[in-house]
Subunit: 327 residues, 2 copies
């Protein structure tokens, strides 16, 4: 028997995934904004995963992966290396089954991310801030504990989970013409493309990526997996490069990859914060920037955008506010 | 006949006001948050006027005042002096009737506030940043144009409008034990108290105010109207002092005034931004701070809080983000 871990998710398995994880996730709202619609001459629907548990879509995939573990696998717990939202998401998911989640984090991870993992009782092991150190530390934990490794994106269980965000959006707004999602490691992008093309074959699917971390763009155009080398972008969730599985799915199911400059990303984030009064992280602002700055023609179209998360470090802002208060 | 402008709003007139302004305002959502409930051992319901048009409750009162003008009054337009949300709200409201809105603003008003007024086609006259200059400039405009002055809070038409926020909240969650609102000039506070006590006589109503701008507290306790002298607080919407009408209503209908430190206000704002991913302004964070820092006993109670607005100046944050992007 081929297990879920070895198969590209089909419509049926995404449906089952949705049913499986539903009790443990929020059905996030779909919002819209008049000023954004007027500016783009279209109707934009924001699937707000910034309001998801743990503040990001990551919980969908992590929960699916944990719930798919059999009893023998569950006993030993799960392990991952991540400095981002996947770490907290996996810790949350492990909590559902009351099994240990071993999280390998670089010693220089932001305190807010460390706190999020601790909050869900993840067992943190700190390591040097290199991919090599992360991987060898995770390997050592696997050897010592027998825990199951859950990759943040290059895993069909994760991809099937992330696919449920676009699924919910299309169940609510079935007649979308276009759907956009950000591309980092490609888990959300792959899942979005699968759900969209399964549920509405004629729909156009675009990935949005920072110019400064354009591995998906270069890989997509050259039909060759080309990882980024230490990219620098404010969209910190999109620094990751595609994996083998997500590269294959994006090549097959995504219509094009759009690139956004750092300035465009910041402008889009600012627009949403100031006009909609909701917080989206820079990694989500790329999709808003794509429609705001006409990277594709959306005129008179119904456009779905996946807002991936809302975990923003406002340390600078609050430090300034405190200084102002003391004055 | 006594007109709306001369009468303390009763239940019937608040109902009529609600009916009158409904087509022109948003019915804002009532949100809750598990972490906030757990932390306070209560159930907190946030009436989110940060999602209101113009980003604040101010539109309710301004719209009511403009819609109540008779034909003769309408012809000459409206005038106010304000560096805040009331200016944009009045410009918006005047737009409904397509009449001029003359807005007197200090020359040093933040660009974002100036833009908001311009966006709604308010006619701006700049003046020196003193109350005297504002008032004399407004007086000159009234003389020249015959425009009707609309005070930001010391006006029963405004108070009746602001009362509709608490009314909507209580229509949605009728069994609240306690309701809290911020106190600046007292328009929102007066309206909240009237709606609450009319609709649920046993309810407790508290005003929340910065320690650094405690005129309502001192006035309430001493039964004498004592304005603040140039208060300094990050809750810039609450620097205003009570007026004669709002002082009278707050004295009669509010159970107590709670004071919050600058640090408490900042902590509460940060909690809401980080946990709920929504933007509330410091002037709204005072009510969250009141429950977070146990200024009253809310244990096992259902508590309504009026989130007055979401207009935050994130200039510092975005400047830092741009610098980081360029690096």
């Amino acid at each position: 028997m081929i297990s879920e871990i070895q198969k590209i998710p089909n419509l049926e398995s995404i449906k089952k995934t949705h049913h499986r994880i539903k009790p443990y996730i929020h059905k996030t709202p779909v919002l819209h904004n008049r000023a954004l619609n007027e500016m783009t001459d279209s109707r934009i629907f924001l699937k707000c995963e910034n309001f998801q548990k743990v503040g990001a879509f990551k919980i969908r995939g992590a929960t699916n992966a944990v719930l798919l573990l059999n009893e023998a696998e569950s006993g030993t717990g799960v392990v991952t290396h991540s400095s981002g939202n996947h770490a907290a998401a996996l810790a949350y998911a492990a909590g559902i089954k009351n099994i240990p989640a071993y999280i390998v984090m670089p010693g220089n991870a932001p305190q807010v991310k460390i706190n999020a993992v601790k909050n869900y009782r993840g067992i943190i092991t700190f390591c040097e801030p290199t991919l090599e150190a992360r991987e060898s530390t995770a390997d050592r934990i696997i050897e010592e504990t027998g825990a199951i490794f859950v990759h943040p994106y290059n895993d069909y269980r994760i991809i099937a989970g992330q696919a449920t965000a676009a699924r919910e959006l299309l169940l609510e707004i079935p007649d979308l013409d276009i759907i956009l999602a950000p591309v980092g490691g490609g888990g959300l992008m792959s899942g979005t493309a699968l759900s969209a093309k399964y549920m509405k074959p004629g729909i156009k699917v675009y990935g949005c990526e920072p110019e400064n971390a354009d591995d998906a763009y270069r890989s997509f155009k050259s039909h060759t997996l080309i990882p980024s080398q230490n990219p620098v972008t404010i969209a910190d969730g999109l620094k990751t490069s595609l994996g083998s599985k997500t590269f294959q799915l994006i090549s097959n199911y995504v219509d094009d990859i759009l690139l956004l400059s750092e300035t465009e990303i910041i402008e889009a984030m600012r627009f949403i914060l100031e006009r909609m009064k909701i917080i989206i992280e820079p990694s989500s602002a790329v999709v808003i920037a794509a429609v705001m700055f006409n990277k594709i023609n959306v005129s008179n179209k119904k456009v779905g955008v996946i807002i991936s998360g809302g975990n923003v470090d406002f340390e600078i802002y609050f430090a300034a506010l405190k200084k102002q208060a003391v004055k």
